[in-house]
């Protein structure tokens, strides 16, 4: 038997923080690829601390639903899961390369395949692009469009910027969008000045965050100038200084994220059958199953 645990942050204050985790877990459940699928959280229940013992499977794949390697993936999750032999060195990563390491959870005696975070997997690049497709409702979007991938910046974790730059570079190499830029909330180049960085009339802004919350629903829309006050909402697209800004909300809410979770588990040796293909088909833009947090033309904040 094999189980999947999706390890996410969650919130004591805001129920929306766990929505993407539940949504992607359900997508994976529906593939039937795992005997058990469990959500686990730092701030909600089941807590990281208790989740493994709720499983009957002996092989457990743990995929952190986090954007970057850093404090949570290197310290908190392995410690709380009681992965005694864990050492960040075992990932042999310089910030974006973590794949997986196999360990024992000492309180339950199960084999844990501890995977790198979803945010740094190559498949995440496709999710960012798909976010652009779903927000513009155009599966071909690219020509005449600029794409801004937005990260938090260096606060506490330099790897978070690395992840943003990594995907930006990969999308740039695809030659699909006229321009692709990495922008940040807390460091240069700043998302406040988004229109300065693009020549194209249309700019898709995709925040590389797992869940919608304060940053993606309040800070960024106001900083970018989509709205005076996030409570009033904003249009998609919104006119800002002669550009049309297509603002997407957190990329982590995109249905295709479930694919990245599966890819992480597959890289760690999970037996998935055709689950990956099925999830890709089910979450592609234009199919009914796609989950969209923000419908074009409506303000996400209203």
């Amino acid at each position: 038997m094999q189980a999947l645990v999706i390890a996410a942050h969650g919130s004591h204050l805001n129920p929306d923080a766990s929505d993407p985790t539940y949504a992607h877990a359900d997508t994976v459940r529906e593939t039937g690829a795992f005997d058990e699928v469990r959500e686990a959280f730092w701030k909600e229940e089941p807590h990281f601390r208790e989740v493994i013992r709720t499983l009957e499977s002996d092989e457990v794949f743990v995929v952190p639903l986090f954007i970057s390697e850093g404090y949570f993936t290197e310290q908190v999750i392995p410690r709380e899961l009681r992965l005694e032999d864990w050492d960040p060195e075992k990932w042999e990563s310089d910030g974006t390369d973590a794949s997986q390491v196999t360990l024992e959870a000492t309180d339950v005696g199960k084999t844990i395949h501890y995977c790198g975070p979803v945010g740094t997997h190559d498949a995440m690049t496709d999710v960012i692009v798909q976010r652009a497709e779903s927000i513009t409702e155009d599966p071909e979007v690219g020509e005449g469009f600029g794409l801004a991938v937005v990260g938090h910046g260096t606060e506490r974790n330099e790897n978070s910027a690395k992840a943003v730059e990594y995907h930006t570079e990969r999308i740039r190499e695809q030659d699909r969008f006229d321009e692709v830029k990495a922008l940040f909330m807390d460091e240069e180049p700043e998302v406040d000045d988004v229109t300065d960085f693009f020549e194209t009339d249309d700019i898709v802004v995709v925040p590389l965050f797992i869940a919608d919350g304060y940053h993606t629903q309040e800070d960024i829309p106001e900083d970018v100038g989509l709205t005076e006050d996030y409570r009033l909402g904003w249009n998609v697209p919104a006119e800002v200084e002669g550009h049309r800004i297509w603002y997407a909300g957190a990329v982590g809410t995109e249905g295709l994220m479930a694919d990245v979770i599966l890819e992480r588990a597959a890289d760690a040796g999970a037996d998935l059958g055709d689950a990956i293909e099925r999830v890709r088909a089910a979450t592609a833009v234009g199919t009914d199953e796609v989950r969209r947090e923000t419908e074009p033309g409506t303000g996400a904040g209203d």
Binding site: L13, W42, K43, R49, E50, Q75
Partner: protein
């Protein structure tokens, strides 16, 4: 339904042939040299050939279908899921017999007793959940059980008055907000809203739903039943923290008691707190009465502890402020009303209650300064 019709007999005979003996829930069937020995609390037969065995099993259909339900349908020997489902119908639980556990206060039932009771449904309470185990087919029971789940407050309600669900995942949404639409970050807070029911769940579906309502409670209960609960006391948990929670191991010993009283008593959390200050140093506060244990401080308590650690590191000072006796009493009434979550219940015109909103506004208008703080002068401590 007769044994011959029930299709349960062939697997039982096959199991006896393969293993030489089947012993389960009061049924013992032994096979040696094509002869069977059969034993239950009412039966003791030996030297039966197959035809005689079939006849002998005829009145024992319950034992046969019970065996099939547990061994073939539920399976999962030694798992928490199986133990929980056994508990739901008051069947004996493997490995748990030696332990005097509060969830086992009702005597277990043997197979004939259980079959009688399952026709009406057997009820169990798990926190604010009520679980009924019953036969799918009451007229002709074939051993197949299903499980219904609802809020204990709805025990007397008509199903037609409740929202009925059958997908265990719907429990997630039901557990998210309380009756007033407030988010419930602590799933075991006694604020689960009522008005819903799950009906006809399978065994696995029931356990999934219970786990969505009260995560990890089944697993930790099962560990406790086997005397294997690994408790992490306050100090261990506090010392393990990093980042901004690194400081909480400095929370004074007595403050940990106040914290447990604030957060962990039954009125706030249905988990029974088993963690103490440290091994051999018990907290004064009662841990609660629930069937499922709390094995270490939860993330909510850890987050709040940070606040209290900072508060406790401050020096105490003496202030002088002017209040009438009634106003002083009113401060106690205000704090008590907030602490008990009673503010919503205080009626608009109930000016006898110190926590009445008009009275609170009057106190603020009279005694507070322009910054919204209470007017007080710090006394020199020399």
């Amino acid at each position: 339904m007769t044994v011959a019709e029930s299709a349960d007999l062939e697997p039982l005979l096959a199991a006896a042939a393969e293993e030489g003996e089947v012993a389960f829930d009061g049924l013992r069937l032994e096979r040696a040299d094509d002869e069977y020995a059969l034993e239950t609390s009412e039966t003791d037969r030996t030297g039966l050939d197959e035809a005689a065995l079939r006849d002998a099993l005829e009145p024992l259909e319950a034992y046969v279908s019970n065996w099939r339900y547990w061994q073939h349908e539920i399976g999962g020997d030694g798992t928490a899921r199986r133990a929980f489902l056994r508990w739901c119908e008051r069947a004996p639980i493997a490995d748990a017999e030696r332990i005097d556990h509060r969830s086992l206060d009702e005597p277990t039932l043997d197979v004939p007793e259980r079959y009688d009771a399952l026709a009406d449904g057997i009820d169990r309470e798990w926190g604010q959940l009520c679980i009924t185990t019953r036969f799918v087919d009451v007229e002709r029971p074939n051993g197949e059980r299903v499980y219904d789940l609802w809020h204990v407050d709805d025990a007397g309600s008509d199903l037609a008055d409740l929202e009925v669900y059958d997908d265990p995942r719907d429990a997630r949404a039901l557990a998210t907000e309380d009756e007033d639409g407030r988010y419930r970050p602590l799933k075991t807070a006694p604020t689960l809203r009522s008005g819903w029911a799950f009906t006809g769940l399978s065994g696995r579906g029931l356990v999934d739903a219970v786990e969505f309502f009260y995560p990890a409670t089944v697993a930790n209960w099962h560990r406790e039943l086997r005397d294997e609960l690994d408790v992490d006391h306050w100090l261990e948990t506090a010392e393990r923290q990093s980042g901004i929670y690194d400081v909480i191991d400095e929370l004074p010993r007595e403050a940990v008691d106040w914290m447990a009283e604030a957060c962990c008593v039954d009125s706030q959390c249905l988990r029974r707190r088993e963690w103490q200050y440290e091994e051999g140093d018990e907290l004064d506060v009662d841990g609660g009465d629930g069937p499922f244990p709390c094995r270490e401080p939860c993330s909510l308590v850890v987050a709040a502890a940070r606040k209290w650690t900072i508060l406790e590191s401050e020096e105490e000072r003496t202030y002088e402020l002017e209040l009438t006796t009634t106003e002083l009493n009113q401060l106690s009434a205000l704090i008590d009303a907030v602490a008990e979550g009673r503010t919503d219940e205080i009626r608009e015109a109930d000016v006898h209650d110190g926590a009445n909103r008009y009275r609170a506004r009057y106190l603020r208008a009279k005694r507070f300064d322009d910054e919204g703080g209470i007017e007080a002068t710090e006394q020199n401590s020399e």
